[in-house]
Symmetry: C2
């Protein structure tokens, strides 16, 4: 008998009617002869409500107590799903984080799973029970409640699947799978049947929020076969697998975008050793992540311009940090621009193919879209463009790489 | 340093503003030099919401999973109060039921506390921390979550006070204390400065819902000094203490009433041995509690009438059980009356005073209020009367026993 892990997100658990529907999907897998562990999120909106309480009680809430509060949402849904399964004739019981236990680091609010106790879990599965496990929560070595950070239930599911050596881990969400791009922008976007872990990671990091990044990293490390499906349809979804499982490699898996970028240009920085180091040192000290960096080459003057991006939410802080270091850096002025967006093409195929970047630059140039910065990784090319061109750029690139579905 | 336990009910914990107010009351006790453990209820309405989810998921919800769901409300408020205390500069941490542990029986939904582990709790108090403990919840010997039944947080507080050998247990609620009767009916009702455990028990059992009955029993057994106060005022409240602590004994402590009674009269039961046993045997088999019983004495016929009361919520079931046993009992017909109410006078003083009952019967007779049934205990006399006389009877008795406050 194969062991499978099924994970249901907040939209799938929002209300008893939907929980009953989840129970019927679980029942189907049980009737197909599988041993099933289910990992659940809190009802949609519940974690926000609980986080709101904590913030209202204190902007600097004790993180250990914050975890006590916010972990309760998953406790509720795991009990309710166990009840709904029982009512559907499927023997089931819940195992809370401290009961398994899901042992984590002590970094409250952003803990990492270190080990999962499987003794009681395996005994329950052996006894023909479905195990229902609240995602997102764990317990520290000190016996305190911990949580894994937003979206952490995906990681819980992958960790449970790894601990059980499960045949696969099915992530049920409110989308049909992973698409070549955002279908709201490109109606002819296609659902991918398969995608590699590496591609999924790059897509997650550039804003295609289907899976928590850490869950994909863990699945890749532990070789857990992930499937992303909709709990509201019968479509097969997308498999996230090893590169060698993908027989017919597409050049590009998808086009993603990220609106959470802001561009900073520092004008007339002295062109001497150490000036640039002072800029990025000040930002690093303030714990501000810098993403794309462009330094204009200074031909005939003693100054240069430095352009880079920071998360849009950090722009105010970044500006303050730099203005405070103005004398130390010695620049003339600082220009900030929030009206930018990062567009990326991702695909393992580009490892072995030249010319992928050229296709991108040419397609954008033909539409008069100016590229303000570029970064690349082994399987990703990202460009920074003016926000007003976002939809046009995504559509153009989707077509240029041959991703459009047949009309 | 004295150790005290403070317990706050759902109204006191309803929302962050109120939780912050609770934190300030706790802080005052800490600043007065006390070691403080706080027991909290869920936010008002939250337990009902969670119970509603369980019922909707299945009318026959697995009680162990029901407990997983409904215990979450107190988990949330204990974390939030610990956060609010920290924000108020008072070091605090929560201890959940499984963390202390609060070991209970395995009777899910209505578990009894068997033992409370105090090691970590005492260590926290010794270290100058306030311990915040969710009421209502515990853990079974199997390591499953359990709950104590509605109102169980009072019992949690008393059990923690007993385990710590606390100097007192202050129950903060939304009333000012225990009154001689319902102030909505008798505006001149007085708040009692002291009341005995026995009186409090009898008052609780006849519908004065200030404290859960079980918490009073436990306080009496463990000699925990209870105080009932309002979290919204500075008034001293009511002390619940041993009889010998009350120097000036009042004859009657209070007048209580209970609307949850229904009267059943079984007409023309054969006046032979076993007929009455068959009636109450059938009700006992159906787990229906019978309270007051009156059997008319048959002078010159072969039949008798039997009258008794059952909880109003059980009337439909009681009627069905008796109709099914009609042939076995051999009665003629059954008359049910829901328009009755039980009015009681309670006071340890009546142990040593004769004539207490006479005062009651005379006062009611003077107003033309017919008594349909009577029960007595060592410190309580209860009468069943027509519901329309409820307010009049309570006012008349309050005056007759000299309980009215000076005008």
């Amino acid at each position: 008998m194969a062991t499978i892990v099924m994970k249901f997100g907040g939209t799938s658990m929002a209300g008893i009617e939907r929980i009953r529907h989840v129970a019927s999907r679980v029942r189907r897998e049980v009737e197909a002869g599988h041993r099933v562990a289910v990992v659940v999120s809190a009802m949609a909106g519940e974690t926000d409500r609980l986080v709101g309480f904590c913030r209202e009680a204190s902007p600097l809430a004790d993180p250990a107590e914050y975890d006590v509060v916010v972990s309760s949402g998953e406790q509720v849904t795991s009990g309710l799903l166990a009840i709904a399964l029982g009512a559907a004739g499927v023997p089931a019981r819940s195992f809370l984080g401290w009961q398994l236990p899901v042992r984590t680091s002590a970094a409250h609010g952003l803990a990492r799973i270190e080990e999962i106790g499987t003794g009681d879990l395996v005994a329950a599965l052996d006894a023909g029970q479905v195990a229902v496990i609240p995602g997102f929560q764990g317990v520290t070595a000190d016996g305190r409640v911990s949580t894994l950070g937003r979206g952490g239930s995906d990681t819980s599911a992958v960790a449970v699947a790894a601990a059980l050596g499960a045949e696969r881990c099915d992530i049920y969400t409110d989308v049909e799978g992973v698409f070549t791009t955002d279908p709201r922008i490109v109606p002819r976007a296609r659902k991918l049947a398969k995608i590699t872990y590496e591609e999924m990671l790059e897509l997650a990091s550039v804003g295609a929020k289907v899976l928590q990044t850490r869950s994909v990293e863990l699945a890749m490390k532990e070789r857990v076969r992930l499937a992303v499906k909709s709990s509201f349809s019968e479509e097969p979804g997308t498999l996230v697998v090893d590169e060698d499982e993908i027989v017919e490699q597409e050049l590009i898996a998808g086009v993603a975008y990220d609106r959470n970028e802001a561009k900073v240009t520092i004008v007339a920085v002295p062109d001497r050793p150490g000036a640039v180091a002072t800029i990025f040192g000040a930002l690093a000290d303030a714990n501000i992540n810098v993403d794309m960096i462009v330094q204009n080459i200074a031909h005939d003057t003693a100054v240069t311009d430095v352009t880079f991006t920071v998360p849009r939410t950090e722009l105010v802080r970044a500006r303050a940090v730099l203005e405070a270091a103005k004398d130390a850096i010695g620049f003339e002025r600082l220009i900030a621009d929030e009206k930018v967006v990062k567009v990326s093409v991702v695909g393992v195929g580009m490892k072995s193919h030249a010319g992928v970047a050229v296709t991108m630059f040419r397609a954008l140039a033909e539409r008069g879209i100016n590229i303000q910065a570029i970064t690349t990784s082994e399987i990703k090319i990202s460009v920074l463009i003016a926000e007003e061109y976002l939809e046009l750029a995504v559509r153009v690139l989707h077509t240029a790489y041959g991703l459009d579905a047949a009309a």
